[in-house]
């Protein structure tokens, strides 16, 4: 890849008159040695799996194996049909779709890790709802995935994308930043605006700990995906309106690394702190352990 930072990414795109998505597709084909058409078709098949996960989460039983979660996407979707959502109809729909995909994940269904399974709802939530809203064809969204991937590539290599290494900020935070940047570009923003969206979004999740109840990717992961989709839309709107990240986005990525490295182990996916160790969290964990020991 010819870029290691977001600044380099935006500068390359602007110098060559390309979108982030176009540049990423070219660079990807060079890196893999496969044709751009082959790489495109892999990404297009991934988008198909995302749409299928949204559909499944809205229509099928997504009760998880633990019984802790499931069907919240359908609750929000039903509410949306009969009420005026406080966040507005479109953001509420993105939220419902993000919950749907995360619930499919928790019930051992098929998803695309974006960048991880714990944060797999945010990009499909934003993308699939935007496709319906703006009438985009699939190809436009596949481009969006290449754009999101370019952003994630920089974040992952300069910081981290696993909760065990850097907390929830590294998973949900990175996914929001990727969705925000991609949404900015999909709606006609410049590469530089997309990069500002990344910094704006990431600042809002710095410090978010990974504290899964019972060690499961369920509570609070699923609702954080729902919130994440709404945050991504907000960051894209700010960037498209011309709001800039006063601290350059690459420096925000470095802060995420600093904060994640300083995070205590109990707040990095070990279920030894945070919500996992509340009285209710502990009670749930001991009930799960009891159930597991039964033959």
């Amino acid at each position: 890849m010819r870029f290691r930072t977001l600044q380099q990414l935006a500068a390359l795109c602007e110098a060559e008159g390309k979108t982030i998505a176009d540049l990423m597709l070219e660079e990807q084909a060079k890196e893999s040695g496969r044709s751009p058409e082959k790489e495109w078709s892999t990404m297009a098949s991934y988008y198909g799996i995302m749409k299928e996960a949204v559909r499944k989460g809205l229509t099928e039983d997504t009760t998880s194996r633990s019984g802790l979660t499931g069907l919240d996407a359908q609750r929000v979707n039903t509410y949306l049909g009969s009420h005026e959502a406080s966040v507005g109809e479109e953001a509420c729909r993105a939220m419902a779709y993000a919950l749907a995909v995360s619930e499919v994940n928790a019930s051992m269904g098929r998803i695309i890790a974006t960048p991880t399974a714990g944060s797999c709802g945010i990009i499909p939530g934003v993308f699939v709802s935007a496709q319906e809203r703006f009438g985009w064809d699939d190809d436009h969204l596949v481009k969006g995935l290449f754009c999101a991937g370019a952003i994630g590539y920089v974040v992952a290599n300069n910081s981290f994308v696993s909760g065990a290494e850097g907390g929830c900020q590294a998973e949900v935070g990175s996914a929001i930043a990727m969705a925000a940047g991609a949404m900015t570009e999909l709606r006609g923003g410049t590469p530089s605006q997309a990069v500002h969206a990344v910094g704006l979004a990431l600042k809002n999740t710095l410090g978010l700990i990974c504290d899964p109840v019972g060690g499961l990717v369920e509570v609070p992961c699923i609702v954080r995906n729902g919130f994440g989709a709404v945050n991504a839309l907000a960051a894209a709107d700010m960037a498209l309106a011309g709001v800039r990240s006063a601290i350059p986005s690459d420096e925000v990525v470095t802060v995420m690394y600093e904060v994640g490295s300083a995070m205590p182990e109990k707040h990095r996916e070990t279920a030894k702190g945070g919500l996992a160790q509340t009285p209710t969290g502990k009670k749930i964990m001991s009930e799960l352990n009891l159930r597991r020991k039964k033959p």
Partner: protein, 225 residues
């Protein structure tokens, strides 16, 4: 760079619930399976760090066993892999260790069968990506996302030249190399990541080098193995 391309960020297609604890664990299992070359009769798996704390909830046990049975990350049989292992006659034990590991999501797999034994240690570094850190006590690093040669051989002058001479004939470009030895003139291991698929014929030629003991080939790329 720990993450090499766009599909290490968008992807893999996988069965939930956790990319590090499920998809990454499958890939760790598959690397061990590739190196062992066949289905092991016994698999003894030790989890460290966050793996040790939360492996049951995330289905890491189901996933690593799925990998040892050569399932891919989106194989619908993953949730029932323990039944699959029983049907195929693979005996599995799980342990947890409090020994500090270099990475929070680390697993060690000890495989036995047909009079052979293999120990592979690796970590799941996020988004389903993995890093192998040790094979049979040799400290060697690789990701499994490129066609990879894992070679056990005598530690002697000219060994690397002999290996790379064959790669050159096949016009193979090396992207990464790692080498470790137990002692001078003793046993050594070389790991080579290349850019194009490794054929059986190429592996055979490398096997015929004097002092070469074992040739393992790992290639986990989706739809290309």
């Amino acid at each position: 760079m720990r993450f090499k391309d766009v599909f290490s960020i968008i992807g893999p297609a996988m069965i939930g619930p956790s990319s590090s604890h499920t998809a990454g664990a499958i890939r760790l299992g598959r690397v061990a399976r590739c190196l062992f070359g066949s289905r092991p009769e016994h698999a003894d798996i030790t989890f460290y760090g966050s793996f040790a704390d939360t492996y049951q909830g995330h289905g890491t046990d189901l996933a690593i066993v799925g990998g040892l049975l050569d399932y891919d990350t989106d194989d619908p049989r993953i949730p029932t892999s323990l039944d699959g292992a029983e049907e195929e006659g693979m005996d599995v034990t799980f342990r947890t260790s409090r020994t500090p590991a270099p990475h929070p999501n680390t697993a060690r797999m000890n495989l036995k069968g047909g009079g052979r034994e293999l120990t592979v240690t690796g970590a799941s570094i996020g988004g389903g990506n993995i890093e192998i850190s040790s094979i049979n006590s040799f400290d060697v690093k690789f990701t499994g996302m490129y066609p990879t040669l894992v070679l056990s051989h005598e530690d002697r002058p000219g060994m690397i030249a002999d290996i790379t001479a064959i790669l050159r004939i096949w016009n193979m470009n090396i992207g990464y190399m790692d080498l470790d030895r137990k002692s001078r003139n003793g046993e050594a291991m070389t790991v080579i990541e290349v850019d194009s698929p490794i054929s059986g014929k190429l592996a055979e030629q490398i096997r015929s080098i004097g002092g070469m003991q074992e040739v393992g080939v790992v290639d986990l790329r989706e739809g290309e193995s």
